[in-house]
């Protein structure tokens, strides 16, 4: 399977303050992003997501390990030839109009002259900024800037789109737009690699997710794998006078939710129907990505405390 991104024990340590104290922002990140997948990097604030992205984009030099984009080492600027990138909370040249802004990046990424105009037109329309093409970016709202930033990342029709927190600062409509764009790119066979706090969106659009906590990778896999969708138990909600078979989890008048082993679902439903009840809802007792992330944060804390305990 060809890889869009591969990192091997990638690390970044900052030296901060007068005493140049080391601060590990990213440690031994090893992951693989398949070509054509949509890959979400999730984690709490300060987990190292942006550090990882900036290192991959050549904005920082790695302190340890290596990484490759489309097989080219990230230390070579050629690795970013087929890449589009939007940084977190993008700031752009305020004196440029939306059109000039996209034209500048199109020229910089060597989009052919004939292809530039139609490409920019299409992108402005795609991110709903076509009415503002001649307005300087300095007059744009935060959400409009974010959309302009996404258009900028797509201007060279890249094979890999890297977006740092693309949903932040967007209203629900803007979020739906970004989600649609990500899915559209994926359908075209492009790879989308992005970080996000909004886990619902990540769950909805990602093929694969990596969880980063305190600079280290705490898990990688499909959303299904991470949240344990192959749950052994299923929660069933019925409208029934008596108690249905199974462990009662909740009761609200004649609405009862029971938890049963996944193998017993059919039998339970049959029994409820036989007793004159109705089925309202059946869903596997799986954790959400948010719960998985919170667990990992807790676990990281425990590991840290243990380590400090040993040191003490």
């Amino acid at each position: 399977m060809p890889l869009a991104i591969r990192t091997e024990k990638l690390g970044k340590t900052y030296l901060s303050g007068f005493l140049r104290r080391p601060f590990v922002a990213l440690s031994e990140l090893t992951m693989e992003v398949r070509v054509g997948s949509s890959f979400g990097l999730v984690g709490p604030n300060g987990a190292g997501k942006t550090t990882a992205i900036k290192t991959l984009m050549g904005l920082q030099r790695p302190s340890a390990g290596q990484a490759w984009i489309h097989g080219v080492a990230i230390t070579d600027h050629e690795s970013r030839r087929r890449v589009g990138f939007m940084p977190e909370r993008p700031y752009f040249y305020e004196y440029l109009t939306a059109w000039e802004f996209l034209d500048f990046y199109a020229r910089l990424t060597e989009v052919e002259a004939a292809a530039r105009r139609p490409r920019i037109e299409a992108l402005l329309e795609r991110v709903n900024l076509d009415r503002f093409r001649h307005v300087p970016l300095g007059k744009f709202s935060k959400g409009m800037l974010q959309r302009a930033g996404i258009a900028q990342a797509l201007v060279n029709d890249p094979d890999l789109v890297v977006l740092d927190e693309p949903m932040s600062g967007l209203d629900p409509l803007g979020r739906v737009l970004v989600r649609d764009i990500i899915q559209e790119e994926r359908r075209k066979g492009k790879t989308v690699f992005f970080s996000s706090h909004i886990l619902g969106d990540v769950e909805a659009i990602c093929d694969e997710v990596a969880i980063v906590v305190a600079g280290t990778l705490r898990g990688q896999g499909t959303v299904r794998e991470l949240i344990g969708q192959t749950a052994d138990e299923v929660d069933c909600t019925f409208v029934i006078a008596g108690d249905p078979p199974g462990r009662v989890m909740r009761r609200d008048g004649d609405r009862v939710t029971v938890r049963v082993p996944s193998g017993n679902v059919d039998a339970t439903i049959d029994a409820v129907r036989a007793a004159g009840g109705h089925v309202l809802e059946v869903h596997p007792n799986a954790r959400t990505l948010e719960e998985v992330l919170l667990d990992e944060v807790e676990r990281a804390k425990l590991v840290n405390e243990k380590r400090l305990g040993v040191l003490a």
Partner: protein, 255 residues
């Protein structure tokens, strides 16, 4: 190299749309106009006074613009975080710096060109067309500005605009007193102070070697060899300073 031009063009566009810069340019035009009124107040050769004030004013204001724009050249990109989208593009970082430097140079050339044109028009109506020496003085002013801009660019790769401005102004001042510095070094007593002065004289550019404004004002011819030599000196020195700036810029982390 086409992309170096794209960045240069964008830097030029940024400068043209900068209100502060336009105000300085406006101020320069006012100064040129004011120089005309000086002839009413001066005694002796009034035409020379007008030429002197106009040439001196142009060079000083151009230096102010060079420092003002140069010190923010890289810093502004980092502070405004526009560097993230720029430095992540598939081109070597030194192309970015070269493009920004050239953009600034083109801006300065346009400003000096505009002022020279205005000066020519004003002088043509008052005392006839200026001599060739005036234009040569402007060409050498551009060589001086290349050097000053290179230093400002170097400072902007690691210092805040405030610090970088202070450093650049120091270079400008010391550069114009370089001959005095050499004299001072020669006459100083042997010891660490003398060594320090001679090192300083060798490192700091001799900006007076680009100054043929007095000759232009008084109509004294300047040998071509001197003009060419000064031009080559400016070009070589600027390239060396820019090379150091590129090395620093190449190694920078953009947090």
């Amino acid at each position: 190299m086409n992309r170096v031009y794209v960045i240069a063009a964008n830097t030029f566009r940024e400068a043209v749309r900068d209100r502060v810069l336009n105000s300085i340019l406006f101020f320069a035009v006012i100064l040129l106009c004011l120089s005309l009124t000086l002839k009413e107040m001066s005694i002796g050769d009034t035409a020379k006074v007008v030429r002197g004030v106009a040439l001196g004013g142009t060079s000083l204001l151009a230096a102010v613009i060079a420092i003002f724009l140069g010190v923010g050249l890289v810093y502004k990109e980092i502070e405004k975080k526009t560097i993230y989208t720029l430095a992540s593009k598939p081109l070597p970082r030194w192309h970015l710096l070269l493009g920004k430097y050239l953009g600034l140079w083109i801006t300065l050339a346009a400003e000096v060109g505009l002022l020279t044109l205005f000066y020519t028009l004003v002088l043509a109506t008052q005392q006839g067309l200026p001599s060739l020496g005036v234009y040569l003085a402007m060409v050498l002013l551009m060589a001086e500005l290349s050097l000053l801009t290179a230093w400002a660019t170097l400072f902007s790769t690691f210092a805040t605009p405030m610090t970088a401005s202070a450093f650049s102004v120091c270079i400008y001042l010391i550069g114009h007193f370089a001959d005095d510095l050499r004299l001072f070094a020669e006459r100083a007593e042997d010891g660490p102070f003398k060594t320090m002065l001679s090192i300083l004289y060798r490192v700091v550019p001799n900006l007076e070697s680009f100054n043929i404004r007095d000759e232009a004002v008084h109509g004294v011819p300047v040998p071509w060899s001197e003009v060419l030599w000064s031009g080559a000196y400016g070009l070589g020195y600027s390239a060396a300073v820019l090379a150091v700036a590129m090395i620093i810029f190449e190694r920078r982390d953009f947090k």
